[in-house]
Symmetry: C2
Subunit: 247 residues, 2 copies
């Protein structure tokens, strides 16, 4: 996470919302009037924990946030990954208590937006509320796809699908660099996302590598052959509900 001098968190949020929603000038103005407190997280640091009652929502400015469930025996189940522009817990606006935790994958910088600010903005600009509501609904679509991915696909296509999704979303947000995108997760975490054992992750990843379609390396997903990867994964991006297809 190179700390760049000139990151404009507002611009990041505006760009992201525009990927799926139309924003009027007034909506943009309303966004620019929000109070933002940017904070840097170390890899693996929690932003909120299961059981918390946060008073602000998170906006990912750079890096990646992940949501996860903590199981009684201490294991983790990663639920979703959130790139720059995402607001991974706008849900806390309307649901008192966190039912999951949110942590940084690699070094990550996060802006907090006080709930009060957001609610006031919603009142003035319902269309802004609808854009963020839509964002939470797309989130839900991503969860649904994860249910299907982890329940109905075997190890190789399952991993391929997750890679497709992260790469595709990165690309849609202009966060990819050529054939690669940022994904600083360990094989262990990948296993906790996909519901497979570490040793299996390793073997399946090697297998994926050998197909020449994709790879995970130095904290990056590398796409060597998109068509092949997407076919292996049976990846259909329509569930992401983006206005423009980056691939």
């Amino acid at each position: 996470m190179q700390r760049e001098a000139a990151i404009d968190p507002y611009a990041i949020l505006i760009r992201k919302l525009k990927e799926h929603s139309r924003l009027q000038k007034e909506d943009v103005a309303e966004i620019r009037a929000l109070t933002l407190m940017v904070r840097d997280l170390a890899p693996n640091e929690d932003f909120v924990r299961q059981g918390d009652r946060p008073k602000a929502s998170a906006l990912v400015v750079s890096g990646i946030l992940a949501r996860y469930h903590l199981l009684p025996d201490g294991r983790r189940q990663y639920l979703s990954f959130h790139l720059a522009g995402d607001m991974p817990d706008s849900q806390a606006l309307f649901v008192d208590q966190m039912d999951h935790s949110v942590c940084a994958l690699g070094p990550t910088s996060v802006a907090s937006i006080p709930h009060g600010d957001l609610m006031a903005a919603f009142e003035r600009r319902p269309s802004l509320a609808f854009a963020i509501w839509r964002e939470t609904l797309i989130d839900a679509a991503i969860f649904r796809e994860a249910i299907t991915n982890n329940s109905a696909r075997s190890a190789l296509p399952r991993m391929a699908h997750l890679f497709c999704e992260i790469y595709y979303r990165s690309r849609a947000s202009g966060l990819s660099t050529g054939d690669a995108c940022h994904a600083p997760m360990t094989l262990g975490q990948l296993g906790e996302a996909l519901g497979m054992a570490l040793a299996t992750v390793n073997r399946v990843l090697s297998e994926l590598r050998e197909t020449g379609s994709g790879d995970l390396k130095n904290g990056q997903i590398v796409v060597r052959d998109w068509d092949r990867l997407a076919e292996l994964a049976q990846f259909d991006p329509s569930y992401l509900h983006l206005k423009r297809q980056p691939l």
Copy 2:
């Protein structure tokens, strides 16, 4: 679904929203002013299909609706089950195209609410919009739990967990009768929800039966020993975000 003469769909929605949200008189009035078109579905009949662009939202009046993904090879992955009072596709209000289908499990009666009506009501009563937004967020929490259930739990606790959830939600909505609740699914469908093969479903269900904690019989989930069932499932209902605990 016995067709009863005196079902009031408005009352069902109001009761449901009150399980997690506070409604003012004006919100209730706004709900009662909505246009509802009730329609009966036969078992297995689709209400909307993947790819559709519905112009109305569904409200379950009686029976159960299920959401599912259709995979390229024709298999299904059931994603969630929706009881009376649920609005399983309010998402279509803000997301153009359906990324999944919705079908009836047993005979089911569904009310359609035109999107225009809802949006107009939201404009007059933002708090009503927030209640329904909250509903969609709880939905998302249920999806997250399904990810964890299907990815991190083995067959027996996985099945127990789904039974717990459906029974608990039924009870919260006053839809349970003693120790049982309506759940007219076949073993095949149960397998398609839990990501296990039909034969396995059968064996695991027998096993569950033998623990004396729960059962699925005549289209009903029967809870013989709630504490045992909940323990088997590691069931923690907090993700349902209900104001009052029915158990």
